[in-house]
Amino acid sequence: MTMTLYGRWQTRLLLLWTAGLLVTLVYGLIYRNVGTPLTLLLYVTLFGFAWDALYHYLQGFRWEGDWPPLFQFVGGLAEGLLVWALAGSLPGVSPALTLGQFAAHYLTVLLVILALMLGPVKVVFPRWRYRGGQWF
């Protein structure tokens, strides 16, 4: 993947709030609490904008200017750990949320989005790969 910073932000925003939202709603129904998963999705999005800026800076050290899917995955894990570490003090997150519940929801969202970025997104948006992940 060879994202620009704007491409990262746009991709994150659109995928989290389409495919990510669907997954989140499903987990909300399973957990009988839609609010907490949705709030977590919002935090992941907001923190993600900062994470993306960091990734973009680090990407500048790579001659190829690319960001392998492996990095994307590992970065996603780090993002999840941060959100879980802060979850107890973030407003809107139920104190009853367990690590298992959070991990199941978060990993599903992460993997679905990564899988979409590696393939199907290009099918629906054929210019996405030519523009560093930017839609607009």
């Binding site: 050290f61 200017g65 392998p68 899917p69 290009k122 099918v123 560093g132």
Partner: protein, 697 residues
């Protein structure tokens, strides 16, 4: 073991081999005579070979013009899989002769999993994977796709019906012939001069009808029959244009013919891997599934889950923790064959060579071209409102020292270019040994070095002297990043940094001013070779053992004496420094993409005073349009190597050709060109489904 055969084709013979592989016990009994008949489940095109002979005696012959669709074999009859290629020879024989299959060949075939499955079965399994992979979106798409089809049917009933009636069975390219550019030029030389109207800036359309030249009236015209035209035609077809509206004029039969010939000459056979990304898929406008996923799926079908996972790991971790995945040449060519069939490429293509292109006074363009119909040459005019030029390279770039030497001696044996056929060099080196002077340090030079090392495995008296113009102790640095270097070889997975295909470098280059772009391109360009562990090990070992040596200098002159080449070399200060006696010179110095090397482009630039960019190539806009060629509503686009040096660096790549095609198709859609609809969203997805199912766009 000799087997009298009733197989009527290579496909039959291979099926016979496959049948025997499935019956090793019967094969080992030996002496059996099997009478079999086959109904040719596989494609055979080109020069028809009736019988093939497999044996284990080493490589004897090479080119056979046969093809078997499916796994294991490619258009030349070479095996495309496994390292056992050189252990198996395919010989051309006549009908009625015996097929000889020894046990070693059978074992090699079996090990390679070379049983060629019918194409239909392979496609079906691929489709299954694709459809499963897209399950998340399929539910939503089903209803919308039906609506889309209904709308399409309403919009273009005539065109769709006409295309639906066209035969879609293999082979689709039977009767398609390539022509020699030299023959076309010789024909044009024999023809009388063009009518005077062609010397005007705008040719009157009425005057064209008064000439004796037959006229072909189309909407879209692609000049050049290679990969650039293929990418453009593919994009137009997927965007809604019917095949009957598109004409492609080119000399080659298949879109990849020139590319493939250059690959073969530079020692990249069909079972070798290209220097190309998994997602650079000329047969697939969307880039997904990439070649890595397809290859992994095939490995999985063979029960090789480990190999499949290894391939997927490479695309997951490249370029940081794994060597970049690169597709096998044969896989790419087969995929292009499939897409060429799907978009009706062979109905669009005309065998010929364009002599000149002129604007007409009714907003169109007239291309005068030499046309070969399989029997006779004729000169015709193609009239079109939208033209695309992708004529590619003119041939190997022969440097002055080599040209001078050849002009003086006529020697084409000892001093060769890597993009010319030079197999004799490796054969003689393996037999007698010798010293080779190598120039260039790109991927082709690396491949040549590997081939020389392979010859050295047969004969330890092979030595390589690598002449480099400048030392490269460190890689170039731009911003926070630096390009790695190993023993003066610059390492980079592809011709350009990966993000210049569509990422940070590409965005920066597109935003940059002309002067800044020139600086950036200068920094990012350069001759590079992919970072591969095997190659790094080879160079390090060669330097350590002494059979591979690097000398910094430039070749000043070349002479011949007593069957040896005498290469006079200047040092870095330009002073005469050394005289090397070597057996061969191999120049791996690239291809000639100069505008001046093309008669058509030369004429175009002169006639319409076209501007060239800083690299001396055609100056195009962000839509790859040649703006000085605008003619009322008519537009001319260009792509490929002839536009190098512009805002998009990797124009001369599979990915770059698709990028250019997409940009020009978008421009045409904005312009309201007939039947070109912007490809996006559900329409894009529905077209992708058609691709996955192998249906016409």
């Amino acid at each position: 073991m000799h087997i009298k055969r009733a197989a009527r084709s290579v496909g039959g013979a291979l099926a016979l081999a496959a049948a025997l592989i499935g019956q090793p016990a019967a094969a080992q009994r030996g002496g059996a005579k099997l009478e079999c008949s086959f109904d040719q489940p596989y494609l055979c095109v080109g020069r028809y070979v009736e019988v093939v002979d497999f044996n284990g005696r080493g490589l004897i012959g090479r080119v056979y013009g046969i093809t078997v669709a499916g796994e294991g074999f490619n258009l030349d009859g070479h095996f495309i899989r496994g390292s056992a290629r050189d252990q198996i020879t395919i010989l051309e024989q006549r009908t009625g002769e015996a097929v000889t299959l020894d046990l070693a060949s059978l074992a090699a075939l079996r090990d390679m999993g070379a049983t060629p499955p019918p194409p239909a079965a392979q496609d079906a399994s691929l489709d299954l994977l694709l459809l499963i992979s897209a399950a998340l979106l399929l539910v939503l798409v089903a209803v919308l796709l039906r609506q889309e089809r209904t709308r399409e049917a309403r919009a273009q009933p005539a065109a769709r019906d006409e295309e639906a009636l066209r035969p879609v069975n293999w082979p689709t390219d039977s009767g398609v012939h390539s022509v020699s550019q030299a023959d076309a030029l010789a024909f044009l030389d024999r023809e009388p001069p063009l009518p005077a109207v062609f010397s005007e800036a705008h040719v009157p359309a009425a005057a064209l009808c008064e000439t004796t030249l037959p006229i072909d009236d189309v909407t879209y015209l692609a000049i050049g029959g290679g990969m650039g035209s293929f990418a453009w035609a593919d994009c137009l077809r997927v965007s809604g244009v019917a095949a009957a509206q598109i004409m492609v004029i080119g000399t080659t039969a298949h879109p990849y013919d020139v590319y493939r010939r250059l690959c073969h000459a530079s020692q990249v056979s069909d079972d070798d891997r290209l220097r190309s990304d998994s997602g650079a898929t000329p047969d697939n406008l969307w880039g997904w599934p990439g070649y890595a996923l397809r290859e992994a799926w095939r490995e999985l079908q063979r029960g090789k889950a480990g190999a499949a996972l290894a391939l997927l790991w490479r695309v997951f971790a490249e370029t940081a923790l794994a060597e970049p995945y690169t597709p096998r040449a044969g896989d790419v060519f087969r995929a292009i064959d499939r897409e060429a069939w799907r978009i009706n490429w062979y109905a669009m293509r005309r065998a010929g060579l364009v002599q000149c292109l002129r604007k007409t006074d009714d907003g169109r363009y007239a291309a005068v071209y030499a046309c070969y119909d399989g029997e006779v040459w004729s000169r015709r005019v193609a009239l079109a409102r939208y033209v695309h030029i992708a004529t590619g390279c003119a041939g190997p770039r022969l440097l002055p020292e080599l040209l001078d030497y050849r002009a003086r001696t006529g020697d084409l044996v000892h001093a060769v270019h890597a993009y010319e056929d030079h197999d004799h060099v490796y054969a003689r080196l393996a037999e007698r040994g010798g010293t080779v002077l190598l120039r260039g340090r790109g991927i082709t030079a690396a491949t040549v070095l590997e081939k020389l090392a392979a010859a050295r495995a047969h004969n330890p008296n092979v030595c390589v002297l690598h002449l480099m113009r400048t030392p490269l102790p460190d890689g170039v640095r731009v911003g926070r990043a630096a390009r790695p270097v190993l023993h003066h070889w610059t390492l980079q997975p592809y011709n350009w940094p990966k993000s210049s295909f569509g990422g940070t470098w590409q965005a920066r280059l597109e935003r940059a001013s002309t002067a800044e772009r020139r600086c950036l391109l200068s920094a990012l360009s350069g001759v590079t070779t992919p970072p591969r562990r095997a190659f790094a090990h080879l160079v390090t070992r060669g330097l350590r053992e002494g059979w591979y040596q690097v000398y910094m200098g430039t070749l000043a002159h070349l002479d011949s004496e007593n069957g040896m080449l005498l290469a006079g070399v200047r040092d870095l200060q330009g002073e005469p420094a050394a005289l090397f006696a070597v057996d061969y010179l191999i120049d791996a110095t690239g291809l000639d993409t100069e505008v001046s090397s093309s008669a058509l482009l030369n004429d175009l630039v002169r006639h319409y005073a076209l501007a060239l960019n800083a690299s001396g190539r055609l100056d195009v806009t962000g839509d790859f349009e040649l703006t000085p060629m605008r003619n009322d509503g008519g537009r001319v686009f260009a792509a490929g190597a002839i536009t190098a040096g512009g805002f998009y660096a990797p124009v001369d790549s599979f990915f770059g050709l698709q990028f250019a095609a997409q940009r020009s198709a978008d421009a045409l859609a904005r312009l309201g060109a007939p039947d070109v609809r912007r490809l996006d969203g559900w329409r894009s997805f529905s077209q992708w489904l058609r691709w996955a199912r192998g249906e016409q766009p």
